[in-house]
Every structure is written in C-alpha cells, then in structure tokens.
Amino acid sequence: MTQAVTAAPSRTAAAVRLDGVSKAFGTGGDSLLALDRVSLDVAPGEFTCLLGASGCGKSTLLNLVADLDRPSGGTIDTGGARVALMFQEPALFPWLTVTGNLELALKMRGVPRAERRARAAELLDSVHLGGFAKKRPHQLSGGMRQRVALARALALTEDESTGEGGGGQGTVLLMDEPFGALDAMTRDLLHDEIERIWRTRGLTVLFVTHNVREAVRLGDRVVLLSSRPGRVVQEFPVPMDRPRRIDAPEVAALAATITDRLREEVGRHGA
C-alpha cells in the first residue's frame, strides 16, 4: 500500500521518465538550483498534476520535458512521444485567424496542405469552437483563446498522415498553469473540457498548477514539489471517481491534507 510510486510501473511502461533531473541556472557561485534530482515516472494515459509554491521549478520542469531546455544533470526520456506544451497565456499569433493558428501548427507537424483546413476544423470542433474559425484571437474571450491554444497543442500531437487525431501512448500534453488566468466559472467548465479530451484521446497529461483543488479535481496523482530547489516532496494518489466536482467534500478533504503539507514546506523558507 505504501510502496513508492516511482518504483511501481515496470521499466517499459512510463510515457515520461525523469531520472535524477537537476537544473541549475547561472554559473559558479551565483548559480541557482531550480530542480534538484527530481525523479518521476508518468504512465501512459495518466493525468499527473505537479503542485508547488513559487520557485518550485514547475515551469522549468515542463520546459525540460518539452525539450526547450537541457537539464544540468539526470536524464529525461519521453520515448520519442510527440510532446506539446501549453502555457498560462494562450500565446496565439495575433496576425493569424483561429484556423490559421491551427493550420500553422499542423503544417509544422508535416500535415499536407490539402488536409490542414479540414483537420483544423475537426480540432476546433473538439474544443467546441466550430463557429469561430475565421475570428482573430483578440475577438475571443480568455477562456475561448485558451481552448484554441489547447486545440493548437493537440494539433502538434497529430499524425502527419492519418486523418485521426493524435493520442494514445505516443502523445504527451504538458500544461503550465493553463487555467491560472481564468475566472472560476470558466475554469470549472474547462476542467470538464480537458478531462473529456484527455479521456477521449487517451493523452498522457503533465499538468502544473499552484491551485490545490484544481490538482485534486483533475489528477490521477498529485505530485508535491518543494521550492528552491524543486524536489519531489510527496505524491498523493487521487482515488476518486470521475468526473469530480471541484466543490465535492472528498476533493476538499484531500486538498486540505495536501495544503497542510504544502504549507509545512513553504514554512521552512520562513525560518
């Protein structure tokens, strides 16, 4: 019952494997250790939430997994999976229409020109924005832009040839506080939305947040990180049926437990 999570999946099972990953910024005496020997295995199809206070290196960790940056030590193995990353900001290109943004992502995935328009339309339908293909990002609300960003991330996980959306074992979606800038109502609906897309596409999700309830609402497992440097403090499995309501008592109860642990961790920096 209390075996370590990192040892549980067999060696071949992980979709993302971090083994003793460290990341330092700067050099010499001024260097700042952002991540300290983080080991983490994410199983294919698993929804893992990374939780921590400021300075826990959550975003650094995602950058490393997305191969935007190199670790100072340790290894990261994504097994050749297609990795897409989305941020707190939608980061859509303002000079392109909604469909133009998606088509560019598809183009970069190597999807032939003739198929892009239709594939973009499918992706937009999958985030319930079918009627907004010709709009520009600034004409949409924050929540809608974030859904377009989600569709673009999904576009980056598409196969070049098949008409089918990406998914399955080879697809890892990294999300860096994607709903952090949204109001509670919108966030609530987007929780349902991301859960549905994760479920239907069989994605492997690594979801960074500082919102404890959000982590419990969404995750199969919540991984608590310490701050400065980021280390894995503790992992909490979330043994609850889906869909969960963010205001459900059992979500609140586990969130309270995790929050206590998080506060304890934060308190160490005040001493």
Partner: protein, 345 residues
C-alpha cells in the same frame, strides 16, 4: 482502501494495459482513510443526481451539456458586439475637426494680415493667395514639377527601404553588428540631413545622385531602426510558443518574427518617409539641376521674384503631399492594429 477504477478504465482507457496506471500506489505519506470517498455513498449535499451518477458506464458530464454550457459562456463573454456606427457618421466625426482646424489656421493668417504687420505684397492674405493657388494647381508646369519631385521621393524612399531592410536585418541578426552599428544608426537618425549636402555636392556635383544620396541617408536609419525594434520586441511568449511548434531558422523568421515585427516596421517606414520628404525638399532648394522643374525649383524662383502668394501656394502643396502620404502610413498602421486587436487589449 477499496476503489472503483473501472469507470475510467472502461470508458476511456480502452486498449491500455490496466497495470500501467499506478492506481494502487501511494508514497510514504498515505492519505488518511477518512478523506477517501466511499464509492457507494455519493456526497449528500452536492447538486442534482446527474452529477453524482458516476457509475461504471456513465460518461462524465454529457458532452452535449458541456457544449451548451461552453457556448452559453462564450456568448456571454463576447457581449453584444456591433460597436461600429454608420460609415457616413464615422467619416464625418473624423473630418469636421480637420476642417475646423484648417479654418482656424486661415483665420489666424488673415488676422496677421489685418494687423498690418507686413505690407500686403510681402505677406498676402488667404483671399489673395487662394486664387493664385488655384491658378497654379491647374497649370501644366506645376504638375510637371510635382511629377519630378514625387519621382525623386519614390525612388529615394524605395532605395532607403531596401538599404534599411538589409541593414536592419543584418544588425538584428548578429550581435557583433548590433554592438558595432546599433548606436551609429540611431546617431544617423538624429543627424539633420541637410548637414550631408556639402559632402553630397562634393561627391556627386549638382546631380540627381546628390539628392538621392541625402534622401537615402535621411530615411534609411529610421527604417532600419523600426525593423530592429520589431525583431527585438517579438513577445517572448510567442517565441516560446514558436519553439514548441518547431519553428526554427528560416521558418521562425517567415512565420513568427517577420509578422511580429510588422507594426514596428510600418512605424519605421512612416518616420522614414517624413525624413525622406524633408531631405528631398532641402535637396531641391540646394541642388538645382540645369533646367529641371521641381517643387523646390518653383519655390526658389518664387522667392527670387518676390512672388509670395505663389510661394505660399507651393508650401501648401508640399504640406498637403506630406500629410496625405503620412495618412496612408497611418491607415496601414491602424489596419494592422485593428486586425491584431492591439487597441482592444
């Protein structure tokens, strides 16, 4: 700690080996038993039954309901829209302040004339000038002059754009060039272009080339600087998104940096035009070539003949041409801003 994991496994994880999901594993800090929900006792105080029916085959939140809720929220957040009024109304509200300003300027001019500060043949009023202005703009010689001047302006500006883009692209690309030439370009931008003419005349004699030389030197630094600023201020978050999308090298320029720097580049073009136009007028007054007729030539001849009304007419034309072309750049600039939503956010 009995748990029901089949709900997810049967609805969503088809084809995935169940043992790959670390469901039954807990790290050293075990969750207290009482925080784990009892499967068969859905929370009493939460919401309608359809939310708590989470049995094995129940799809979480029916898609159609989620779709309806999202559509509702989208509609609410986008608001009513439809803000633009009628075209006629909008153009009138743009035009009347301009018309008023022109009338005020004419009136002020007339007041100075009425004050008797200068004799009317030295400083004629609007009433004497406007008929002469009309005579001028209906004469062939005048349009020949405007044609030559505009030809020089267009050629000079085009060369300046070419030079500015090449220099700007190189300097923004290479850090060494940036250190070497960055401040030099800004310095050139602030240098009054008329100061180049003695050198230009020595190098090129009284020729078209002398004028072209100064026009290009006047305009190119602004254009280069606009491009450099645009490349520099490409939002970092977009660069990150571009990297995630796999944009590198040429595709990065083609799909991200070039479009992102467009507004700044257009601002640089606009400023470059202003400098080109000023340099050109200075050039046409200083470098008078043979028997050509340009706006500058007309202006100097009017001064030699003490024909103030003609002179003022040419000045008005020079002003109008400057304003019209500046407005064209303004239109391009506003079109980009509206398209991108820079004004709204």
């Amino acid at each position: 700690m009995a748990r029901d994991t089949t709900a997810r496994d049967t609805t969503a994880r088809d084809g995935l080996p169940q043992d790959t999901v670390p469901e039954d594993t807990v790290s050293e800090g075990t969750v207290p038993e009482d925080t784990v929900p009892q499967d068969d006792a859905p929370p009493k105080d939460t919401a309608p039954p359809k939310d708590t029916v989470l049995r094995k085959d129940a799809a979480p939140v029916p898609d159609s309901r989620l779709q309806r809720e999202l559509a509702g929220l989208d509609a609410l957040e986008l608001g009513g829209g439809g803000r633009s009024g009628r075209l006629l109304q909008r153009s009138w509200s743009a035009v009347w302040p301009m018309v008023t300003a022109v009338l005020i300027a004419l009136f002020a001019w007339q007041v100075v004339v009425w004050s008797g500060w200068k004799d009317p043949w030295v400083l004629p009023g609007p009433g004497d000038t406007l008929p002469i202005f009309w005579d001028q703009v209906t004469s062939g010689r005048f349009w020949d002059a405007v044609g030559l001047t505009m030809q020089r302006a267009v050629i000079g500006f085009a060369v300046a754009v070419g030079v500015g883009v090449v220099v700007g692209a190189l300097v923004s690309q290479f850090r060494v060039l940036r250190r070497a030439f960055g401040s030099l370009i800004t310095g050139l931008q602030t240098m009054p272009s008329i100061a180049w003419f003695p050198l230009a005349i020595l190098l090129f004699k009284l020729s078209e080339s002398a004028i072209l030389f100064v026009v290009v030197l006047g305009a190119a630094p602004s254009i280069a600087n606009g491009l450099i600023a645009g490349v520099d201020y490409t939002p970092p978050i977009l660069l990150r998104a571009g990297k995630v999308m796999g944009l590198r090298g040429l595709t990065l320029y083609r799909h991200l940096i070039m479009p992102a720097s467009l507004p700044s580049f257009v601002a640089g073009l606009k400023q470059g035009w202003a400098f080109a136009w000023r340099s050109l007028m200075a050039g046409e007054l200083l470098v008078i070539i043979g028997d050509t007729t340009s706006l500058g030539v007309l202006l100097s001849q009017a001064r030699e003949l003490n024909a103030t009304a003609e002179m003022i007419s040419y000045m008005i034309v020079i002003l109008i041409i400057g304003i019209v072309i500046d407005q064209l750049f303004g239109v391009a600039d506003r079109a980009i801003r509206t398209r991108w939503g820079v004004d709204q956010d």
